[in-house]
Amino acid sequence: MSNEINTGLVNNGRNNAPTATAGAEAENADAIRNVLLPTEQRPTPAGPISGSLTYGWRAMLKIKHIPTQLFDVTVFPLMMTVMFTFIFGGAMGAVVSGTGETGGVAISEYVQFFIPGIFVQTLIMITMYTGMTLNKDISKGIFDRFRSLPTWRPAQLVGALLGDQVRYTLAGVIILGVGFAVGFRPEGGLEGVVAAFALLLVFSFCLSWIWTTFSLLLPTEEAVMGVSMTLIFPLTFASNIFVPTQTMPDWLQPVVDANPVSVVVASIRDFMLGTNEGNLLVVGIYCVVLVAVFAPISMYLYNRKS
């Protein structure tokens, strides 16, 4: 176990040309000496905006290098939209339209009601990956490096969420494209769809802070996924996404109506379908509360993460 000073016998084949490389090594030392900046010469560390954008840029680079990570925001939304439309559409459309007629007619009725809903459902499901990605990031050596930088600290989390906006946008475009293909014709027109999209992106950003908190709190990616799923299922199914609240038992209706997801879906439908059932103010309050509660908790955990 000693650090041996080798005899010739052991030394053969190792360190075999120290003299030949000595010149090159001195050159290397010079190159390194010359590349060092004077200690005083340092820019002002990135602030909140440039720091967050830089981390967002990092997320873009990751997509560029690992395009397969887009699977969840492309194939998954496509599958969900097509499956729900054709499997449940026939039955659910009969209820939603109020005519009781099933089959093809019912499907086109249901599509109008359901596309804004699945749009929200899918994006919310995808926000979960934010937490899983962050949890994986934290387990790696680079997390220590980032935290040792003088950059505004929340930038790493905010930047990750900004990068995810690109993923959400991609997923959203796919859902709406598929929706259009299966007959969805929004009354609200292009402006309505764009406004709905913007609202959902804001809501997803705010909601993601919950997953950020869990990603810092829980030990593994699997644990983060488990907890996220457990929350996302009741959150999205106990809502007005798939069926109108009026079809549910009386005791359940107030709960479903208060669900932030229902509130968002109602406003999204307002924008897309030209209805007037939602309340943007309540959506705004939910957004503010989500960020006000979970962003500070996330930062507290981030700063104390060992």
């Binding site: 650090n3 360190n15 190159a31 390194i32 060092l36 050596g141 700063n303």
Partner: protein, 346 residues
């Protein structure tokens, strides 16, 4: 607090960190002057990394006080972060990104503009002989290349204090020599370096002073010379040609060197620890006179195990079950040759 001086790179008293029931750092005191290299030597799980992470403001100490470059770790972590750089034990790089992208990322976060960050990144890649790999993902880099990129990343701006956590663990001997050269160059430029290592050889080669840490406590501190004086000059390793002769050779060593002789697992190998100033010559002479055929013998610096044996009276207990530790140790020590060889086979 008035006793703190900004002439010191680091001063900490009674630093404590607990993880649940486990006290990882149990009252560490360090006084590290500016300039030069300070080595923190200890086995896996001794608390080296935790200590460094507290000093680099990544972990909040549970007790004690610490000043880094004259700033309090509790009160002014951001000021400290502006002046330090950290190269972690596991490459502090984004493996999915290319080498250049990693440096641009760090440059941007440190406040360089887009073009300035790219230019700075290129300059560093060239200086560290990585220009050819600039557009390759870091996951495809060799261990030595990663280490160099990692250190380059710490030099986007020149830190006043640089933390290097086990900079050569797990890399090949050639890369290790390159890293040593880089470290020496940095110090010549005025940066203070705090490095942790598991190898006495590395601390001896690089550090001006060494603190030995075990079970979260500093158990010895001093210059490499002082430390070696405490633990002895090193070990004489002998391998006989015929294992049957080993017992006879062991007796000869015991009588000439006078210390305990360890029978290694290798049935032909023996190790005798030498006191400070002791010479191996009488032992070798006696062996030659006895006519026992010796395959090899070598003088070695004391290994970390031997240092700990001397300082604590018991061998290192690895608390971590890092599977590769043995390999690293063996690989690095075999090539960690330095100093004077005692001689060749008779």
């Amino acid at each position: 607090m008035s006793s703190y001086s900004s002439d010191l790179a680091i001063e900490c008293r009674g630093l404590v960190k607990r993880f649940g029931d486990n006290t990882a750092v149990d009252g560490v005191d360090l006084t590290i002057p500016r300039g030069g290299i300070y080595g923190v030597l200890g086995p896996n799980g001794a608390g080296k990394t935790t200590t460094i992470r507290m000093l680099a403001t990544l972990l909040r100490p549970d007790g004690g006080e610490a000043q880094v470059l004259g700033h309090d770790v509790f009160a002014e972590p951001k000021t400290i972060r502006e002046k330090i750089a950290l190269t972690g034990q596991f490459a502090s790089l984004d493996e999915d990104l290319t080498g250049l992208e990693n440096l641009i990322l760090l440059g941007r976060l440190l406040g360089f503009g887009k073009n300035a960050a790219r230019e700075r990144g290129w300059d560093l890649l060239e200086a560290f002989n990585l220009a050819d790999a600039a557009d390759r993902q870091v996951k495809k880099y060799s261990g030595g290349m990663r280490r160099r990129l990692d250190i380059a990343g710490s030099l986007m701006v020149t830190p006043e204090l640089m933390f290097l956590d086990e900079p050569t663990t797990g890399i090949d001997p050639r890369s290790r020599n390159q890293v040593w050269d880089i470290i020496r160059t940095l110090v010549a430029g005025g940066t203070t370096i705090l490095l942790t290592t598991q190898y006495l050889e590395e601390a001896d080669q690089l550090a001006d002073r060494i603190a030995v840490i075990d079970h979260g406590k500093v158990i010895a501190e001093g210059t490499p010379g002082q430390l070696k004086a405490q633990v002895g000059a090193g070990a004489l390793k002998v391998r006989v040609e015929n294992p049957a002769d080993r017992e006879t050779a062991a007796h000869i060593l015991e009588t000439t060197v006078g210390s305990n002789v360890v029978r290694e697992k290798d049935a032909a190998a023996l190790t005798a620890r030498l006191g400070q100033g002791a010479s191996a010559t009488p032992a070798l002479q006696a062996l030659e006179e006895s006519g026992i055929a010796i395959e090899t013998f070598a003088m070695g610096q004391p290994s970390l195990d031997e240092v700990f044996l001397a300082l604590t009276g018991k061998p290192v207990e690895a608390e971590d079950t890092e599977t590769t530790e043995e390999d690293h140790d063996a690989g690095a020590s075999a090539a960690a040759a330095g100093g004077a060889a005692a001689g060749g086979a008779s």
